[in-house]
């Protein structure tokens, strides 16, 4: 009787495997269900130990172990990557070495965020938005890093590409405006890189898109300031830049308005 039951169970399991035909990702997911409850508490304990007594590379590797068990946890991906990229706990002291290490961490972090998008489902936007702001924050923390990102378009170029992607993923007014307010900064970066024509096109785009902003009064006033900057860069005479200079939203452009 017992052998009969066993044989039936085995046959049914084989039949199920033939009908469903699980792929490698299904098997990995199934293994994840089995492993997660046993592994996760220890993985988290290891992450805490790394934060208390290890270094940032170890903490990131431990964080990766956790998010491998919970691939859809976008908050975890973002927190672990930001901490890894922005924390320099190496013994390097030469500015070049610090910037080189920061560049390596930033590229690894952005790759990790990109890879995590495939499991993020409806929260993919969060990963893209976080990736957009990370290079700029890293460049503020590590002098010399921005120059090393020239092949990617600098921190603003990277941010703009991610914000475009965020806008594609989540075409809402909030995301559109997030990119809108960012455009003058991108124009400044393009101007610094010698791409004057592209900088002017970016400002024109900003003025056009400002009409779609929800706060019409704010957008109109902001677009006037952007127009003044564009006219100044085009070399038009008699442009009054006093309002632009007094506006903290355009602080990143001030050194280009002389």
């Amino acid at each position: 009787m017992f052998a009969y039951r066993k044989t039936c169970s085995a046959l049914l399991m084989i039949a199920a495997a033939v009908v469903v035909q699980p792929g490698s990702s299904d098997l990995r997911e199934f293994a994840g269900w089995l492993l997660r409850p046993a592994r996760l508490p220890y993985a988290w304990q290891g992450r805490m130990a790394a934060a208390a007594s290890g270094d940032s590379a170890e903490a990131f590797a431990r964080g990766q172990q956790i998010v491998q068990l919970l691939p859809g946890w976008t908050g975890g991906h973002i927190a672990f990557v930001y901490r890894y990229v922005l924390q320099d706990d190496t013994a390097r002291h030469a500015a070049d070495d610090v910037a080189a290490a920061a560049e390596r961490r930033l590229r690894a972090g952005l790759l990790w965020l990109d890879a995590a998008r495939s499991d993020a489902n409806s929260r993919e936007f969060e990963l893209v938005e976080s990736a957009a702001f990370l290079p700029d924050i890293a460049c503020r923390n590590f002098p010399g890093l921005a120059d090393r990102l020239a092949d990617l378009g600098g921190p603003t170029g990277i941010a703009d590409r991610y914000l475009q992607e965020a806008e594609r993923l989540s075409p809402t007014a909030e995301v559109r405006e997030m990119r809108l307010w960012f455009l003058p900064k991108l124009a400044a970066a393009l101007m610094e890189a010698g791409s004057r024509q592209q900088a002017l096109q970016t400002l024109d785009l900003a003025v056009r898109r400002a009409r779609e902003a929800r706060d019409t009064e704010l957008a109109t006033e902001w677009a006037e300031r952007v127009t003044e900057v564009a006219r100044h860069w085009r070399g038009e005479p008699g442009v009054d830049l006093a309002a632009v200079r007094a506006d903290p939203r355009f602080a990143s452009l001030l050194h280009l308005l002389r």
């Binding site: 170890e58 924390q87 013994a91 990790w112």
Partner: protein
């Protein structure tokens, strides 16, 4: 020698090997396979040694499996380890007549078990630390004790630290606790000896438990690389810092090889297993196999999975390149 091999020592060793050998090797293969499947190549390319400590679960797995198999096999195998085991009375009669100390062969059986564990885990520990990219050399860590109130919360303040004895130092690592900042600037800390800076640039600390590492220039120390006392000076910034015991560590030169460190790890783990077996033997004077096995497994769980005791810390130390002795 033959008598030892045919007695409780040899029996515990041989029977334990039959179970623990294949299980620990299988566990090692699982550990290597899972590590290879889950390690991130992006990070590994640039910071493999730094992140090798993240492989500690995979080093723990085969060592813990070996320890559990040997523990269970020894308790189950040798009749005098617990009450009401078949053959217990006969062995006690024989040992009472022949042995100077009538322990019923318990100590010999435990000796065989720990010899087996050492023999199994030593090569596993050495091989796996190499496989998991542990730093090839280990460094001594010397904890520096603060002399005076361990707080730096104002520019220009100085806090002295003393080591137990003059030691060669290549770096100083600081992991201070930060209080609520009074402004936006991170705090800069200078490391001084007799008023002279030991490092090229001050360290900057912005948050609690942030690791800050300063290489020490041996030419600037009074004792040509040897350091017994030094001080930290608050050079600016708005983050008040508190230095708990163990938060300032002097790092010695990298003159120790990791494989010896791995051997010490297996010796330490074996010592912990010996303590568990001795506790089980003591409990077995008044309890049966089920009770003793449960108690042994609970102690094993606490030691290997509950991070109680020295083994967990020692595994991390070996993979982080910290000398155990």
């Amino acid at each position: 020698m033959t008598r030892i091999w045919r007695g409780p020592f040899g029996i515990a060793f041989r029977h334990g090997l039959r179970l623990a050998g294949p299980v620990s090797l299988f566990a090692a293969l699982i550990a290597v396979a899972v590590h290879a499947a889950t390690a991130d190549p992006e990070l590994a390319a640039g910071a493999a040694a730094a992140a090798s400590a993240a492989a500690s679960p995979w080093l723990t797995l085969p060592l813990a499996a070996a320890a559990l198999c040997i523990l269970l096999r020894t308790l189950q195998l040798w009749p005098t380890m617990t009450l009401r085991q078949s053959g217990r009375d006969a062995i006690q009669r024989v040992t009472a007549a022949r042995a100077v100390l009538p322990t019923g062969g318990r100590f010999a059986a435990i000796g065989g078990a720990i010899a087996l564990q050492l023999l199994l885990t030593a090569p596993l520990a050495v091989a796996l630390t190499w496989w998991f990219d542990a730093p090839p050399v280990a460094r001594r860590h010397h904890v520096a004790a603060a002399v005076g109130p361990p707080v730096l919360d104002g520019v220009g303040q100085t806090l002295a630290f003393a080591l137990a004895a003059p030691v060669p130092v290549e770096a100083i690592w600081i992991r201070a606790d930060a209080a609520i900042p009074t402004g936006p600037a991170p705090t800069s800390i200078e490391i001084l000896q007799d008023g002279q800076a030991l490092s090229d640039r001050p360290l900057t600390i912005a948050e609690s438990r942030q690791l800050a590492r300063a290489p020490i220039d041996p030419g600037r120390t009074a004792g040509s690389g040897m350091l017994a006392t030094f001080s930290l000076r608050h050079a600016g910034g708005d983050v008040p810092l508190l230095f708990r015991p163990g938060s300032v560590v002097a790092i010695g030169p990298s003159d120790r090889t990791t494989w010896i460190n791995a051997l010490m790890l297996s010796a330490l783990a074996t010592g912990a297993s010996a303590a568990i077996l001795l506790a089980c033997a003591l409990l077995g004077l008044g309890a049966g196999i089920a009770t003793v096995t449960t108690a042994g497994c609970a102690l094993w769980f606490l030691l290997w999975l509950g991070s109680v005791g020295p083994v967990d810390d020692a595994i991390l130390a070996v993979l982080r390149g910290r000398w155990l002795w």
